[in-house]
C-alpha cells in the first residue's frame, strides 16, 4: 500500500527498529487542524508511516449536561456541538425528542425545518470545501465561500435573532415563524448563490494544483467505509448510496425532488465534488420548500400541550392560559413516556442521531449523541498512511472534523 510499510515488510527484524522514524505532534493547536484536535504522526522523511489521532481536548460533558437540562433547554447545547451548522443539530435534537414524545409536527413546521436544515447544509459544505481549498493554497476560494456563509448567517439572524448559535427549534415547533422578510432574503440567496457556486467551481474544480493535491489522496474504499461506519458525504464519495433523506424520509423530504450525490473514487477530490453537488441539490430543496410553504401554525396545537401557545391564545382563551402556565411551571410540562428511541437526520457531516431515554421527567434520562465526526476521525490513520505530510491537511479538511462535535 504505502512505500514506507512495504519497506518494512522486506526488512529483517533487526533492521525494523523504528528509531529512524520521526515523531511529529500535529496540533492540538495547529491552525490547519481548524479545531482542537491532535495527531501524532510518525514520519519517514516526509512520508507518513502512521498516525495516531487523539481527541478530548474540547470535552465538555454535553451528554451529562443533557441529563440535567430540559428538552427545550438542551437545544442551546446542541448548537455548540457542530457549530458550523447549528441549525441542523437543533433539528436533529428535536426530531429525536419528538420521536420519543410522539409528536406529529404541523406541515408548515416540517417545511421550515427542511429549509433551515438545508441552508445549514449549504453553509457547512461551504466552510468544509472552503477550508480544503485554504489548506491546499486556494485562499480566494475560501473567501468566496465565507462571503456566502455570511449571507446565510444574515438569513438566520433575521429569522431568530442569532447568527451563530441559533437554538431555533422547540419541542413541537419553532421559536419563530418565517416572516416575509426572511422569505425574501432566502429568495435572494437562491437567486445569487448559484452564480457564486459556478464561480467557485470554475476556480477550483479544474485547478491543476488543487486536483494534484487531492486526487488519489486519502482513498477510502466502499467496503471500508461501511465497515468503519462512515456516513454522509464521506461515505457517499466512496460509493455508499446511503442518504437518510431518501432512505427514511423524515420531516417532509418525501415531497421534494432531489438527487443523492455520490462518487466512487473515495478520495479527497471525490469528497469535494460530492459536497459541491450536494449544495446544488440543497438549493433545489430549499426552492421547492419555499415555494410550497404550507400556511397555518408552526407549533402544534394547544391540546398537545408541548409548544408554548401564542400570546393571543394566552390572553384570549382559557386553554391557552392553562397551557402557558403548565408549560412554564416545574414538573408540569409535557408527559414523557418511560421509553427510549433513536432518531437521526442526514446532517451535513453524516448521520447525526440522538438516542433519548425518557423516564417521565422533564429532562432526558440519557441523551446520547451519535456524532459523525468521531467515526470519521477514527478513519484518519487509514487514509493518511503512505501519503506525505502536506496531505495531512487535505485529508483532515475533507473529512470535515469539528472538534466540538467530536468531543462533546
Amino acid at each position: 500500500m504505502s512505500i514506507a510499510t512495504s519497506e518494512f515488510d522486506v526488512a529483517t527484524p533487526a533492521e525494523r527498529s523504528e528509531d529512524y522514524l520521526w515523531t511529529l505532534n500535529f496540533g492540538p493547536q495547529h491552525p490547519a487542524t481548524h479545531t482542537t484536535l491532535r495527531l501524532v504522526l510518525k514520519l519517514e522523511g516526509e512520508r507518513v508511516v502512521d498516525a495516531m489521532p487523539e481527541m478530548g481536548y474540547l470535552h465538555s460533558g454535553f451528554e451529562k449536561i443533557g441529563e440535567h437540562l430540559t428538552f427545550n433547554q438542551y437545544v442551546t447545547v446542541t448548537d455548540r456541538m457542530n457549530y458550523i451548522s447549528p441549525m441542523a443539530n437543533n433539528v436533529a435534537w428535536h426530531e429525536a425528542v419528538e420521536r420519543l414524545l410522539g409528536i406529529d409536527l404541523t406541515p408548515r413546521c416540517k417545511y421550515i425545518r427542511v429549509i433551515i436544515a438545508e441552508l445549514a447544509r449549504i453553509s457547512d459544505h461551504l466552510l468544509c470545501n472552503g477550508a480544503v481549498g485554504l489548506d491546499t493554497g486556494a485562499f480566494t476560494f475560501f473567501l468566496y465561500a465565507f462571503y456566502q456563509r455570511e449571507v446565510i448567517y444574515d438569513i438566520f439572524e433575521t429569522l431568530c435573532g442569532a447568527r451563530f448559535t441559533n437554538s431555533y427549534t422547540r419541542v413541537g415547533g419553532a421559536s419563530q415563524d418565517f416572516t416575509p422578510l426572511v422569505i425574501e432574503k432566502i429568495r435572494t440567496f437562491l437567486k445569487t448563490f448559484p452564480k457564486t457556486l459556478d464561480d467557485m467551481e470554475r476556480l477550483l474544480t479544474r485547478n491543476r494544483i488543487f486536483v494534484d493535491r487531492t486526487k488519489g489522496v486519502g482513498v477510502l474504499s466502499k467496503a471500508e467505509a461501511i465497515n468503519r461506519s462512515a456516513t454522509g458525504p464521506v461515505a457517499r464519495a466512496s460509493g455508499v448510496t446511503r442518504d437518510l433523506r431518501k432512505d427514511e424520509p423524515y420531516l417532509a423530504y418525501r415531497d421534494f425532488d432531489f438527487k443523492v450525490c455520490c462518487a466512487s473514487a473515495g478520495d479527497c477530490y471525490a469528497r469535494y465534488l460530492v459536497r459541491m453537488a450536494e449544495m446544488r441539490e440543497s438549493l433545489k430543496i430549499v426552492a421547492q420548500a419555499l415555494e410550497n410553504l404550507p400556511s397555518g401554525p408552526v407549533n402544534v396545537g394547544i391540546d398537545q400541550r408541548t409548544a408554548l401557545p401564542t400570546k393571543k391564545q394566552v390572553y384570549s382563551t382559557i386553554e391557552g392560559t392553562i397551557s402557558h402556565f403548565e408549560l412554564s411551571m416545574a414538573n408540569r410540562g409535557f408527559e414523557v413516556p418511560c421509553e427510549e428511541s433513536y432518531a437521526a437526520i442526514e446532517a451535513p457531516n453524516g448521520e447525526l442521531g440522538f438516542y433519548v431515554v425518557g423516564d417521565g421527567g422533564e429532562a432526558a434520562y440519557r441523551a446520547r449523541c451519535r456524532p459523525p465526526s468521531v467515526l470519521h476521525f477514527a478513519l484518519f490513520p487509514q487514509l493518511i498512511r503512505g501519503h506525505t505530510l502536506s496531505d495531512v491537511v487535505a485529508v483532515l479538511g475533507s473529512l470535515n472534523i469539528i472538534a466540538a462535535e467530536l468531543d462533546r
Binding site: G56, G102, I226, S229, T241, E248, S341, Y342, Y365, A378
Partner: protein, 191 residues
C-alpha cells in the same frame, strides 16, 4: 422496558409495510429462532431486540451476515436511578442495512460483577465484526466503565489517561467531585 402507553402515535418515517420494515422483521424472526430466549419489542416503529450478554457477539455476527452491515452506534445507558429497572447497564447497538435501509436496535443488559476485584462489567467486543466499533467502544469504556473483551486498544477516548472514574455513570455527580486532584501536579522542570 415497558411497552409504550402514549396516546399520540406520529406518522412514522418507517411505515409497517415498507421494505425496510419487512427486512427488520425478518431479521428479528431469524434471530428469535436461532437464539431462543431473545425478546423483541417495537416502539414508534423501531424494532428492538434484547440479547443476553454472553450471546451478544454471536447474535450481532449473525445479523451482520443477514445484511445489517452498518454499525451506526454503540452506546450505553446507566439504569441506576431508573424506576423499575432490574439491571444496571444497558448497551445499545444500533444496526442498519445499507441495502434495504432497515434499522435494528440490539440491547445487551449487564450488571456490575459482585465478586472479584474488578468492579467493571465485561462484554465481548465487536471490533472483529466492525472496525468502526473501535472508538465507540472506547468511548463507552471511558464514560461508563464497561470493559470490552478482545478490543485491540481499550484506552480512554475523551477523558485524560490519568482520569479515574467514569463520568456518565449515574453515581458520578454533575459537579462537585474533585476532578483536579486526579491529576499529578506538573512543575516546569518535569513538564
Amino acid at each position: 422496558m415497558a411497552e409504550a402507553t402514549a396516546s399520540r402515535e406520529p406518522s412514522s418515517p418507517d411505515p409497517a409495510g415498507s421494505e425496510a420494515s419487512r427486512a427488520a422483521q425478518d431479521a428479528v424472526a431469524a434471530v428469535a429462532t436461532a437464539f431462543p430466549g431473545v425478546e423483541s419489542s417495537v416502539f414508534r416503529g423501531q424494532r428492538r431486540v434484547v440479547v443476553p450478554a454472553e450471546r451478544s457477539f454471536e447474535v450481532l455476527a449473525s445479523l451482520k451476515e443477514a445484511g445489517f452491515d452498518l454499525l451506526v452506534d454503540v452506546s450505553c445507558v446507566d439504569y441506576l436511578e431508573y424506576r423499575g429497572a432490574k439491571r444496571r447497564f444497558g448497551l445499545v447497538y444500533l444496526l442498519a442495512s445499507t441495502a434495504t435501509a432497515a434499522r435494528l436496535t440490539i440491547r445487551v443488559f449487564v450488571d456490575e460483577p459482585v465478586e472479584g476485584t474488578d468492579p467493571c462489567p465485561v462484554v465481548r467486543s465487536v471490533v472483529p465484526l466492525w472496525e468502526g466499533a473501535d472508538w465507540l467502544e472506547r468511548e463507552v469504556w471511558d464514560l461508563f466503565g464497561i470493559r470490552f473483551e478482545g478490543h485491540p486498544d481499550l484506552r480512554r477516548l475523551v477523558m485524560p489517561e490519568e482520569f479515574t472514574g467514569h463520568p456518565l455513570r449515574k453515581d458520578y455527580p454533575l459537579q462537585g467531585r474533585g476532578e483536579r486532584h486526579n491529576f499529578p501536579v506538573l512543575t516546569r522542570d518535569r513538564s
